[in-house]
């Protein structure tokens, strides 16, 4: 299993000014993650945990403070312009809001052909043929090519955005909340489409989502992020069946289910998520953790491999391990 993308010690800090002077927001801290070829890796966490910053680093919309994103064994920062162009061809994105991500002044055919024209110089007829082919893949009629985005519903727009992401036959697609802006009855259509094209073209997905049910459905691997650091990662089937880190457990217990007998567990603490500007010392989750021990307040647990192939950062698990 080769890695399509690899994040090595990826770190991003933002300098900010606050009432009390200058500060540093530690948005992403030393994140190590392998995104294997043909799989779907989901980044999970509360808002402000840094999952979108990671996606931006991968898309080169931000430059890392430390560490690197690796593609096909090469670090992005070492790549030549030519290699970077190749990277951009192979790493595409589908964003949350199809009302914002499509240019309202361009016809659909133009929207889909823009990435192609940025990389290749196809003949007009060949380009048109490719556009119609892409529309067909995402389940839109050929007549859609000559319409504007406002003539489509949310679900159809997301199909256009997916067609645009597919235009250059990429290897990796970053899916940033791909269905959360869509109507409930439309979501399954788009989810099924995403799963179909993944199979058809052997795509690798990096999924960012807050909806854990969606993550369980779509992903093969999960990385749970808390205040910029991975606290647990591994195969999603195992993590969803038996979460090991107390934060993962808290997240999963909080998800409502369509079952009147299921009572979601409310966290005891009324503190909201800690701040990435002034993260607590030791384990960053300790102020909210129900199993907090003295060691948690002083030492940040390292991400340790567990027996079943997953990794978790928690003193409870390492203590268990050493016995």
């Amino acid at each position: 299993m080769t890695a399509a993308l690899e994040l090595r010690n990826l770190t991003k800090h933002f300098d900010v000014r606050t009432e009390r002077g200058r500060g540093v927001v530690r948005a992403v801290n030393d994140v190590n993650l392998v995104i294997p070829d043909g799989q779907t890796v989901a980044l999970v966490g509360e808002s402000g945990c840094g999952k979108t910053t990671i996606a931006k680093l991968v898309l080169m919309l931000e430059q890392p403070t430390g560490g690197a994103v690796m593609f096909e064994g090469r670090t992005l920062t070492d790549m030549s312009r030519r290699e970077l162009k190749n990277y951009r061809r192979h790493v595409q994105a589908v964003f949350q809001d199809p009302y914002a991500s499509l240019n309202p002044r361009l016809k659909v055919a133009k929207i889909i052909s823009e990435p192609i024209l940025a990389h290749d110089r196809p003949e007009r007829a060949a380009l048109r043929k490719r556009v119609l082919e892409l529309l067909d893949i995402v389940g839109l009629p050929a007549t859609a090519a000559d319409l504007y985005p406002h003539e489509f519903s949310g679900g159809q727009r997301q199909r256009i955005a997916i067609a645009r992401a597919l235009a250059l036959q990429p290897k990796v697609i970053i899916l940033d909340e791909p269905i959360s802006a869509l109507d409930v009855s439309i979501r399954a259509q788009i989810l099924n489409l995403l799963m179909d094209i993944q199979k058809q073209f052997g795509l690798t997905y990096l999924l960012i989502a807050h909806d854990l049910a969606l993550v369980e459905h779509l992903s093969t691997q999960v990385a749970v992020i808390y205040l910029g650091s991975v606290v647990e990662s591994g195969p999603s089937a195992e993590i969803f069946a038996a979460p090991k880190h107390p934060y993962t457990q808290a997240l999963l217990n909080a998800v409502p289910r369509p079952d009147p007998d299921f009572v979601p567990v409310a966290a005891e603490s009324f503190d909201d998520t800690g701040s990435a500007l002034a993260p607590p010392g030791g384990c960053k989750f300790h102020p909210r953790c129900p199993h907090v021990m003295p060691v948690c307040k002083t030492t940040d647990p390292a991400l340790t491999p567990l027996a079943d192939g997953r990794r978790a950062a928690c003193h409870l698990l390492t203590a268990e391990h050493s016995h």
């Binding site: 509360e46 808002s47 519903s153 679900g155 109507d183 409930v184 009855s185 439309i186 979501r187 399954a188 259509q189 989810l191 099924n192 799963m195 807050h210 854990l212 049910a213 969606l214 369980e216 459905h217 779509l218 089937a237 969803f240 808290a250 997240l251 999963l252 909080a254 998800v255 409502p256 289910r257 369509p258 079952d259 009147p260 299921f262 009572v263 979601p264 567990v265 409310a266 966290a267 009324f270 909201d272 998520t273």
Partner: protein
């Protein structure tokens, strides 16, 4: 046993928006009840009319929308639709019926302190005489929604609160005058799951203490499962199915409700493929004459061109579908 009179009784409510393009039938003849101490989940997609229903109850339709309300809305037996705007403002809104909106970022005014805003309802409804008393009440209000150190927090501005805390502030404002009915419009959609659970627990405890009736608007069937007593499923301006929460989940009768439950991934029930609902919701400018869901329904019959009557299939479980209609 005679059932007690409902707190809110909506009968054949129609809210039509008269626009230049035509008439948008946002709410098209719906009836439901909410009892004291009961939570009704109003579930539907965007554009199904759930928010318009609640804005109609409060008579807060968009000013330039050309909205017209028909039918009857009774609160404690008193008709609301015939009240004047002044009576609605002074006696009903905030006083008897209050609302929590989806996004606490936009429902709170960023240029006033939280104290100014939470004390507002007490002064407006003349429950206290001085600003000082109103602030005291406001501090009590924040304590009721479990915001720590309320006296200090009153002096803060909304941006100094986190999303979950802001929604608590909005809740404190809504319950300021101890309303009989609380309308919560997607109160947790903008919040993280962990905070979402806390918010739901808060609503539950408020209801336990005050016997307030709650209408919970949402698009997510999972959220309402743990909190609601009864559920009404809306589609394209109509209620297609109502019933006790258990009946709706264990035994959904309308093809739309069934499809909704099938079409969303649920935690702990991984399926290979979701059963997608084909097509998209109809335009409310020109909805289908018969059953609104018929064009997308897998069990469509020729009779579906006529609107199906309400059929009671037991224990207050009412469905509008020809499949269940008594022959």
């Amino acid at each position: 046993m005679t059932a007690p009179a409902p707190l809110l009784e909506v009968k054949d409510l129609k809210t039509h928006l008269h626009l230049r393009r035509g008439i948008v039938r946002a709410v098209d003849g719906i009836s439901f009840e909410v009892h004291e101490g009961e939570t009704l989940g109003l579930v539907g997609e965007s554009g199904s009319g759930k928010t318009m229903t609640c804005l109609s109850i409060l008579r807060l339709l968009p000013r330039h929308g050309g909205g017209r309300i028909d039918g009857s809305i009774k609160l404690d037996g008193a008709e609301l639709t015939t009240l004047s705007e002044g009576e609605m403002a002074q006696d009903i809104r905030g006083q008897q019926v209050a609302m929590i909106s989806q996004d606490p970022m936009t429902s709170l005014n960023p240029v006033f302190t939280v104290g100014d805003q939470v004390s507002g309802p007490f002064l407006y409804h003349k429950l206290v005489r001085t600003v000082r008393e109103a602030w005291k009440k406001a501090a009590e209000g924040l304590r009721r929604v479990r915001i720590p150190s309320p006296e200090q927090r009153l002096k803060n501005y909304p941006h100094q609160f986190s999303g979950g805390m802001r929604q608590r502030v909005a809740t404190a404002m809504a319950i300021a005058c101890s309303p009989r009915l609380l309308i919560a419009d997607e109160p947790t959609t903008a919040l993280d799951v962990t905070i979402q659970v806390q918010m739901m627990a808060l609503l539950k405890s408020i209801q336990r203490d005050s016997k307030v009736g709650i209408i919970l608007i949402t698009h997510d069937l999972s959220i309402v499962a743990g909190l609601c007593h009864r559920i009404a499923v809306m589609y394209a301006g109509r209620i297609v199915e109502t019933g006790k929460v258990r009946d709706i989940y264990k035994n959904p009768a309308h093809p739309y409700t069934q499809a909704l439950l099938e079409a969303i991934p649920h935690l702990g029930q991984k399926r290979e493929r979701l059963a997608a609902i084909p097509g998209q919701p109809p335009s409310l400018l020109d909805p289908p004459a018969g059953c609104r869901f018929a064009p997308r329904c897998p069990k469509r019959m020729s009779i579906c061109d006529e609107y199906p009557p309400a059929t009671n299939i037991g224990d207050g479980h009412v469905v509008h579908c020809w499949l269940k209609a008594k022959q």
